[in-house]
Every structure is written in structure tokens, then in C-alpha cells.
Amino acid sequence: MSAEPRSLARRLFEPASIDSQAPVARVVTYVLLFLWTLVVVIPLYWVFITSFKGPGEVDNGPFYLPFVDFAPSLQAWDFMLVQNYTLRPYMNSVVVAVASTLLAVLIGSLAAYALVRIRFQVKLAAVAIFLILLTAIIVAVATFGVRWEIAIVVAAALFVIALFTLLGRTKLAVGNSDIEFWIISNRIMPPIVAVLPIYVMFQQMRLLDTQVALIATYTAINLPIVVWLTRDFFAGIPLDLEESAQIDGASKFRVFFTIALPLVRSGLVATFLLVLILAWNEYLLALFLSNADAQTMPVLVSAQNTTRGPQWWNMSVLITVMIAPVIIISSILQKHIARGLLVGAVKG
């Protein structure tokens, strides 16, 4: 404390100590944060209270406070959840999101771990031959009407022959960082480019409008994110633990499941949540791949735009039940998410 008395202006504009703010700055900070709080809360609040309104309360002008200027009713909730059987799309969403996230995290973290710990050398020639043969299969099936089973068998045979004749003649190879980059760069691809062939593929397999189709597709589109995030978690853990386990004779798989995975637990939680949210909210692919049996919540919500005009009260119920669980889960696990994203962004 200095003995010299400070003038009013100095007291208002200068901080009292080194890790605090000047009073004026503090007021401005809180006012701005409060304004953004309003921006975040008002839409959510409006959806929430609209779900307790009926057609009358919505049409006769804005009412803001339940019990004060309108009488809340559970009519819309009853209509959407009990009479209209929203449970089915809801369960579809839960099953698809959880299953695809589990699969993506499992497959993705396995690949990320291998890419961090094991050196890869894939012959460029082999990759090129593979892609050429794949294109050849597609052209053969699409234009010349060759049966796809036959095309695949022939191509596989050609691939093996080409591989044996070329092996050892070329040195050009792709390494770990190339494979990683390829996996991650798949995320750049807009889903609209891939969705038509995926649609046809599932149609041929008679899997259209099933949960399996959605789970498989979501796993694929979220895989790059899992690899991209988890590779940094694995790169961050010290080698000695794994090495000593390997000297004791544990296999790579065992090391992965019993040592590496538990060490990156909190990163995995972040990854899991992020991917879960992405899968839970996914709209475009669900629109293509499901229509009745496997319909998910985003599609159901968007389909509420009926000919009688949107029925805000019913829609609000759907939106509320869709966002409530994710908000609760991620609010609890918030710290993990921020940290996980940070690790990913630092090393990318």
C-alpha cells in the first residue's frame, strides 16, 4: 500500500494490483460478457418456453414468462412424445451416434497409435496400382455391365500379380506422415460429393434406411478427426512404459489396450464427446440414407415444416429433447473438451 493518496481518476482507470483489473475495465468486461450471455441464452430460453405453449399462446403475440403472462401446458410434450412416438427416431439417434462414435474412436485410435509408434513404408507403386484397378472395376461395372463380384475377383488377382512383379523394383514409398495426412485430409471432402455413391452402395446391399448404414457412414466421416486428435495424445506419452512392457513380452495390441489407452484417457473423453456431438447433429447424410425406419432426430426436426406452417410448440419440444442431453453431458465434461481441442490445435 502506498502512502500517497491516489486521485479518483487514477483509482478508476488503474488496477489496484498486478493481477486485477481497473474498476472501469472490470465493469466494461462484465457488461460485454453479460451481453453475450444474453445472446446465448435468449434463443435457448425462447425454445424452452415455446415448448410449453399452445397454438393460442404462440399466435396471439409474444408471451415471455410462463405463469405470468401465459399458462404453460404440457400439451405439445404430450403430443410429440406420447401420441406421436418420437421415441423411435430418438432411439435411432442415440444408437447411431453412440455406436458410430465408439467405432470411430476404436478404429481411429488404433490407427493413430500405430502411425505414431510403428514405421510404415508403403510402396507408391502398390498404391497407384490399387487405385487404377479400383477405377477399372468401377468403369467395367458401370459401362460394360460386368458383374461386380467377377470384377472384384479379377482385379484382386491382377493386383497380386502386379505386386509380385513390381515388388523390389521401385524404391518410392509413402511414410507415416503421408498416411496421416491422407487420413486427415479426408475431412476436407464435402460429404455431398461422396453421398450419392454411398446411397447407391447401400441400396445395392439393401441396407438403405437402416441404422447399420448410418453407423458405417458416420464412423467413416468422423474417423479423420479421431486420428488427428488422438495421434497427438499418443505422441505425448513417454515411451519407456510401453518399452518395458514389451520387453516383458506383451504384444503391441496388449500394450495399446492396457498401457497406451488408459494413459490418454482424458484426451479420449474429449475426442469421444466431440465426435458424439457431430454424429448426433449430422443432417445431410441422414437425409439421404434414412427416411422412415432409421430416421434420426435432425431429419425429424427439419421435417416439421408442415403444410399448415411450422408448429413452433411441437418443434420446440423436439429441439429441447435433442439438445438437453448433450448440454448436460458436455457441461459436466467441459474441461476435457477444451484441453483436447487445444492439444489437437497446437500440434495439428
Binding site: I18, D19, S20, Q21, A25, R26, L32, L33, W36, V39, V40, P43, L44, W46, V47, G61, P62, I107, G108, A111, I118, F120, L131, I138, A142, I188, M189, P190, I192, V193, A194, L196, P197, M201, A216, T217, T219, A220, S251, K252, F253, I277, N281, Y283, L284, L287, Q304, N305, W312, L318, I319, I327, S331, Q334, A338, L341, L342, G344, A345, V346
Partner: protein
């Protein structure tokens, strides 16, 4: 696998386990590669084929006829040009001046690279490609904005991507800096500000339709006071676009905020305190300590957002249905609408053009912004 005690079986098992361990790397990566081959590479090749052919329904199925680049021609210079690229206006002085300015800037960057650094072949080709792309996009964006022009879906998408991401970044950074101050309740704000990111975009679209309803929305009394309740944002191109941007910003600002806040919390505390003791003001601290510390992370979050922003469809589809006219239609929505009208070739062609634009923009951003930002840190 369960263990058995019989000797031959155990030996058998050991060799099997050895084989497994020897190939563990490949086995670990294989599932990921197979999944991506099935759902990314394979569909991409088929889409390329679709983009080059005409699809027609025929009795008992469909026919595909190879037509070369006709789909692309139709979209770029033919009957669908107004839809994808928009209607070009006449260039006035302002447009030429802007274009010249952009060209000069790009030329300056290119010249600096060629003269100052040690130019490599790959670096030069990449930069030429990026420059050409930037110039092309600038022309495409300016031409429909000129008097008499109407923007098409490419311009709309670029608007959502560049304006949207910039606004989200600015807001997210501002909020993160505010929250990074020594304030009470930081965790409360962190949790609360994060919520919009989790709301499904379809839900956001309906929510903002409700909020922006001029007669029944929460702001209706305000609107009535201004005497504009007869006006509707949905009937005018720019107000509709603004609405989509508002919804998108509401959802994605939290993403920027949360990562940047974590980065700000990680900045070197001792340096900040030393600077404070030396009497540095807030702006100086931000410029000399905070910004260098968070720049690589900032560049990376913007990159992630860029990648995702190109894919926008849910908001415009539900909020405005792409209208009025095609004022808010994004390229993904355009492709989707083409698919619904059985124009599969056109749909795939639009998808491919989107892939082309977004890949070049994202890769350029990675090479020319993210990489230097990281090197700057190290």
C-alpha cells in the same frame, strides 16, 4: 481368445500370436484404411464418373451415358451458369479498382517469395496455383456484386465461408480475451458460451426463424415500435443472407472461443506479469505476448472452421430453403437440389467443384498461414 493347456494347441497359438504381433502395425491401420477406402475414395471415383455422365431413369432402372465435360460446361458457361456463378453485372470503376488492388497484393506476395526466399519448384507452382485461384474467386465474387448482377451459389458459399469465419474468429477472440482477464465466474462463462456449439444446426435454423418472426417473435414489440412489422427479412436477399450468417455465427463462435481461451490461459504468465510491472498497457501485452503465443493455435482453429464452413447446408435449407430465389443457397444445397431433380450428373459436378475450391483454399491456408504461424512460434 481363451488359453488352453494342451501342448500342440499352445504352440500353434504362439506362432499365430507371433504372426499377429509381427504384423501389428498393418493390422492396426487396416480398419481405418478400409473404412476410408469404402466411404471416401471409392465414392469419390464413382462421383467423378457420375459428374462426367448423364443420368436418366429408364424402364426397370436407369441409364448412365458418358458425356464428358458437358455437365461442367452447362454449369460454368451454359444454361445453369446463373445458378452456380450468378448473373454478372457490368464492371464499374469500383470493381476494377478492387480487382487491381487484389491483383497487386497477390503479385506483391508472389514477387516477395520469388525474390527474397529461395524459391523451389513445388513452392512456386503451389503459389502460382493459389494465386490463380484467389484471383479467379475474386473475379467470381466481384462480378455478380457489380450493378445488375445476381450472386449465385458459389458466391453465397464464399460469403458464408469468408465473412462467417472472420466474424466468428473476431467474436471468439474478443470473448476469449475478455474471459482471460482475471474475472470471477470464468468457468460459468466457459460452460455457458460453449452451449450453442452443441445445438443441432437444424434446431438453430428453426429457433432463429422463431426469434426473427416479425409478428409473434420475442422482438415483435420492438419491431412494432419501429413500424416495420410488415417487412420480412425472408423476402430480401441480403437480409436473408445475414440471417444465415447470424445463425452460423451463433453456433460457431463458441468453437473459436473455447480453443482460444484455453490457449490464452496457457500463455506465459510470468512474461505478462513482467510486462505489467514495466507499465505495458493491455494492447501492448496483447500484441507482444498474447498474440505470438496463440497465433499458431488461432491459425489452426481458423483452418478447421474453413474446412467445415464449406460444407454448410442445414442452416440455409431449413432457415430460408435457399431463398428468396437462390439468394441463400450454398453449393452443397445446390448439389442436393440437383440430386432431387434427378440431375445426378450435375449434382456430382457441383460437388466436385466444391471439393476443388475447398481443397485449394484449405491447403493454401495451411501452407501460407498455419505453417508460418507455427514456425514463428518455434
Amino acid at each position: 481368445m481363451t488359453a488352453t493347456d494342451t501342448m500342440p494347441d499352445a504352440a500353434d497359438r504362439r506362432s499365430w500370436a507371433e504372426w499377429l504381433d509381427g504384423h501389428s502395425g498393418r493390422i492396426m491401420v487396416l480398419p481405418a484404411v478400409i473404412v476410408l477406402l469404402c466411404f471416401a475414395i471409392f465414392p469419390l471415383i464413382i462421383s467423378a464418373y457420375l459428374a462426367l455422365s448423364r443420368f436418366a431413369l429408364a424402364p426397370g432402372g436407369f441409364t448412365l451415358k458418358f458425356i464428358g465435360l458437358l455437365n461442367f460446361r452447362k454449369l460454368l458457361v451454359g444454361s445453369q451458369q446463373y445458378h452456380l456463378l450468378g448473373k454478372f453485372g457490368t464492371f464499374g470503376f469500383v470493381q476494377f479498382a478492387l480487382l487491381a488492388l487484389i491483383a497487386a497484393g497477390l503479385f506483391f506476395l508472389l514477387a516477395r517469395y520469388l525474390l527474397r526466399g529461395r524459391p523451389t519448384v513445388v513452392g512456386t507452382v503451389g503459389r502460382l496455383l493459389a494465386t490463380a485461384m484467389a484471383m479467379g474467386l475474386a473475379v467470381l465474387a466481384l462480378a455478380p456484386m457489380a450493378p445488375g448482377g445476381v450472386p449465385g451459389t458459389v458466391v453465397n458459399t464464399l460469403l458464408y465461408v469468408f465473412v462467417g469465419v472472420s466474424v466468428q474468429f473476431a467474436l471468439g477472440l474478443g470473448l476469449a480475451l475478455l474471459c482471460g482477464q482475471p474475472i470471477r465466474g470464468r468457468n460459468f462463462f466457459r460452460v455457458l458460451f460453449f452451449i450453442p456449439l452443441m445445438v443441432t444446426p437444424v434446431g438453430i435454423a428453426y429457433t432463429f426463424r422463431m426469434l426473427a418472426d416479425m409478428q409473434k417473435g420475442p422482438f415483435a414489440p420492438l419491431v412494432r415500435a419501429f413500424g416495420i412489422s410488415e417487412w420480412s427479412w425472408a423476402t430480401e436477399a441480403w437480409s436473408a443472407r445475414l440471417m444465415v450468417l447470424v445463425g452460423d455465427t451463433w453456433q460457431w463462435t463458441p468453437f473459436m472461443f473455447i480453443v482460444l481461451l484455453a490457449a490464452i490461459e496457457n500463455q506465459p504468465r510470468d512474461q505478462v506479469e513482467a510486462a505489467r510491472l514495466d507499465g505495458a498497457n493491455g494492447f501492448q501485452i496483447f500484441r507482444d505476448i498474447t498474440w505470438p503465443a496463440i497465433a499458431p493455435i488461432a491459425a489452426t482453429v481458423v483452418l478447421i472452421r474453413l474446412i467445415e464452413a464449406f460444407k454448410i447446408i442445414d442452416l440455409p435449407n431449413v432457415l430460408t430453403g435457399g431463398g428468396p430465389g437462390l439468394a441463400t443457397e450454398s453449393m452443397t444445397l445446390h448439389s442436393f437440389i440437383s440430386w432431387r431433380t434427378q440431375d445426378l450428373g450435375g449434382s456430382a459436378a457441383i460437388g466436385y467443384m466444391l471439393l476443388f475450391i475447398s481443397t485449394i483454399v484449405c491447403v493454401s491456408f495451411f501452407n501460407f498461414v498455419v505453417r508460418p504461424a507455427r514456425r514463428f512460434e518455434a
